[in-house]
Amino acid sequence: MAAMQGALEDFLRALRAMEVRVSPAEAIDAHMAVAEVGYANRELLKDALCVTLAKSEDEVEKFDIAFDTFFTREEFKGAMGPAERGEDDRLDRREPEAGQPAGGPGGGSRDRADEASQETSLAEMLLDNDAIALSRAMEAAADRARAKDIRLNTQRSLLTRKTLDEMGLRELEALINQLRGSGQPRDEALAERLAERREALFIEAQRFVERQSKLYASETGRRMREKILGDMKLTSIDPDEMKSMEALVKRMAKRLASRYSRKRHRADKGKLDVRKTIRRSMGYGGVPFNIVWKSQTIDKPKIIAICDVSRSVAAAAQFLLLFLYSLNEVVDKLEAFAFSDRMVSVNDLLDDEKLDEAIAQILKRIGFRPTDYGRALADFCDTHLDELDRHTTVIVLGDGRSNYVNPRLDLMKQIAERSRAVIWLNPEPETYWGQGDSKMDAYQRFCSVAKTCNTLNQLEKIIEEVLRTYSPR
């Protein structure tokens, strides 16, 4: 029973490593659940643990993987299978082999006999093809080799080696060499058989460590990658990382939305709502039993996002659009525009198309052309200036490089005056602003916030600031 408890603890650790959150109280629940259903029926055990431990759809998926990986021990037989054909002559082979190390032929020295108890055990297990004993031995060896502390995929080969060493590989090898050198055909055949099964053992050990790494290390590796991605310059992320970036951005958008979209009213205790109180008191003959306080409706942010997709920001544009897309899924009122020399509304595309398709279409329609901020602002003001009011925040994503044409600062001023705030996120560092064809220093005057934003983490921080100003402090 204690061993079983240990197994459950290990399983919980594996779950935690896979980012399924298991609190101590839930661990107790799991133990109680196991006490209720037992280990005999695997499917029942799986379902019972699943309902106690996995607390969201996402976690259920992870749980299923973890459970299936963790509780696969019979796989061992599969790999040892090919060696099984030696079954018939195994017994008579085993007899001499068992006696061999002790009363060994020729140069059998005494000190080797001390090792014998250990070394024969691995050799014997291999010859016996005793899958259960082997898997137990491997698990014990892995414990000694601390295979469960695996953190990174790169540790795998080292840990495989260590585990095998702990199982007594060195002694096995010595035995094989000795048998080979003995000159007796019978021993040589035995040596071949052992060598053959040693190969199978290698594969098995590799698979075992692989499983440990899948259980305990897969998430840490991913987490580390994502941490690095979060701080990486948007312009220097290569397409291979696009997928993980996408997941990261999505999660970030969801996090922001769930934090800021909840509260719609704030109770304001202290100010009496006379009208509602009198209305409610009607039922009690005018006696004010229910006192109603005034409450404040909290504005939900209305965001207008304008995204530069021209040549100069081409590398960052894809991520800015990616962010826009994710934000559009979670924020109620988002108007999105993209421009290089002209400005177009991309709301429909974000709403209707799938992510890749939307980004590709936007870039195809207006991307990678030389920028003209003046013209783009004029386009915006012509058609959408009316939509700006004191609830609207305008977010501009762009580098402010306008190819020396008129930047139309007057239009920028108008936009700033009509809206609640203008936030400009520039992928270039501040020291570049105003240099060359950059008009950033001029635009900056009209912005409530103008910041460098070239990593995902910065992006999140700034958007969080925007959303927070709408929420009660």
Binding site: A25, D29, A33, L44, K55, S258, Y284, K354
Partner: protein, 324 residues
């Protein structure tokens, strides 16, 4: 002490919650086809005395599970629908203000008499205190769903529907009820359930629930069913439907679910559609008929337009999958 354990003592084999298999069977008898995981969740909930948090897209049978469980166990179902702004006075209890008012009016004269022969102000106050407590006692208590559930001595099934629609404050308030099966009424004291109710909470994932709440619950996610399970569900819910029609209509719905729709049809839509087809005396899925009844399955105009455009293709695909 648990509901199950109590009754299990009487008849260990025949109790509907005795094992996962009996639960599956029992629910099937009540018209609910449960997967093993659903049944296990119910089993664990009864034995560990924990509420079940049921999640899944709309129409997948979350509320239905609670209804059928109540039916299976022969217990009353107490249902509380959550919404934004739901508070204690609507969920737990309220004082019957009207009745209190009426009684004070009636007793006014009587009280005057009582108080006139009091020797001094202090003793008059004492008597008044005694009377005041009368008005805040059980007869003036208006129980709301949660209190009602706690006072069901024989146990009950408590369904807290769409918990994600309520405020966070209310969620925190629920914690006491869910972990200790008791509620505190300041004027009276703590009311503890004699038999802990079987509690279902349902959520559509409008917002993420707090960890504290999740920790106290068993979690059950009901996914959209595979074709075989769905066929069984349709056959149970729509008696008299032909097996061939069931097969092809389920295959069609399954095909729709693979598309990128704003709202994929869930089980309740499949059942509704099956009923509609029966009403129209359909024997097979004719394209014209499907086109006309598509609005039963799909609830957004864009979805309907998108599916209609390639209807023949989808039908062919479904027919292939169904093998008819």
């Amino acid at each position: 002490m648990t509901l199950a354990a109590q009754s299990l003592g009487d008849a260990p084999e025949s109790h509907p919650l005795a094992s996962v298999d009996t639960i599956i069977e029992g629910l099937a008898g009540a018209g609910y086809i449960a997967s093993r995981r659903i049944a296990t969740a119910l089993y664990m909930s009864a034995h560990l005395q924990k509420p079940i948090l049921v999640e899944g897209v709309a129409g997948v049978g979350k509320t239905e599970l609670a209804l059928r469980t109540a039916e299976l166990l022969g217990l009353p179902l107490i249902r509380m629908q959550c919404y934004e702004g739901l508070d204690e006075s609507k969920a737990l209890y309220e004082w019957k203000y009207g009745k209190q008012l009426l009684y004070t009016q009636i007793l006014k004269d009587h009280m005057g008499k009582e108080l006139t022969d009091a020797p001094d102000v202090d003793s008059a106050m004492d008597r008044l205190h005694g009377m005041g407590d009368l008005f805040f006692s059980e007869p003036f208590l208006e129980p709301r769903p949660l209190l009602k559930a706690m006072r069901q001595d024989g146990g009950c099934v408590l369904l807290i529907d769409e918990i994600d629609k309520s405020d966070e404050a209310f969620e925190a308030f629920l914690l006491e009820v869910l972990s200790a099966y008791q509620v505190s009424v300041p004027e009276i004291g703590v009311i503890k359930a004699q038999t802990p109710p079987i509690v279902f909470l349902t959520s559509n994932n409008v917002r993420d629930l707090g960890d504290a709440l999740k920790r106290r619950c068993l979690h059950l996610h009901i996914p959209l069913p595979d074709a075989r399970l769905e066929e069984r569900i349709v056959a149970t819910r729509v008696p008299g439907i032909e097996a061939r029609l069931t097969k092809s209509l389920v295959a069609f719905v399954q095909t729709l679910r693979t598309l990128d729709l704003r709202k994929s049809p869930s089980i309740s839509e499949t059942v509704d559609w099956a009923r509609a087809l029966i009403l129209l005396h359909a024997a097979a899925l004719e394209p014209e008929l499907v086109r006309e009844t598509l609005n039963v399955l799909l609830k957004f105009e864009q979805d309907i337009v998108a599916v209609e455009a390639k209807l023949g293709e989808h039908l062919a695909k479904a027919a292939e999958a169904a093998g008819v």
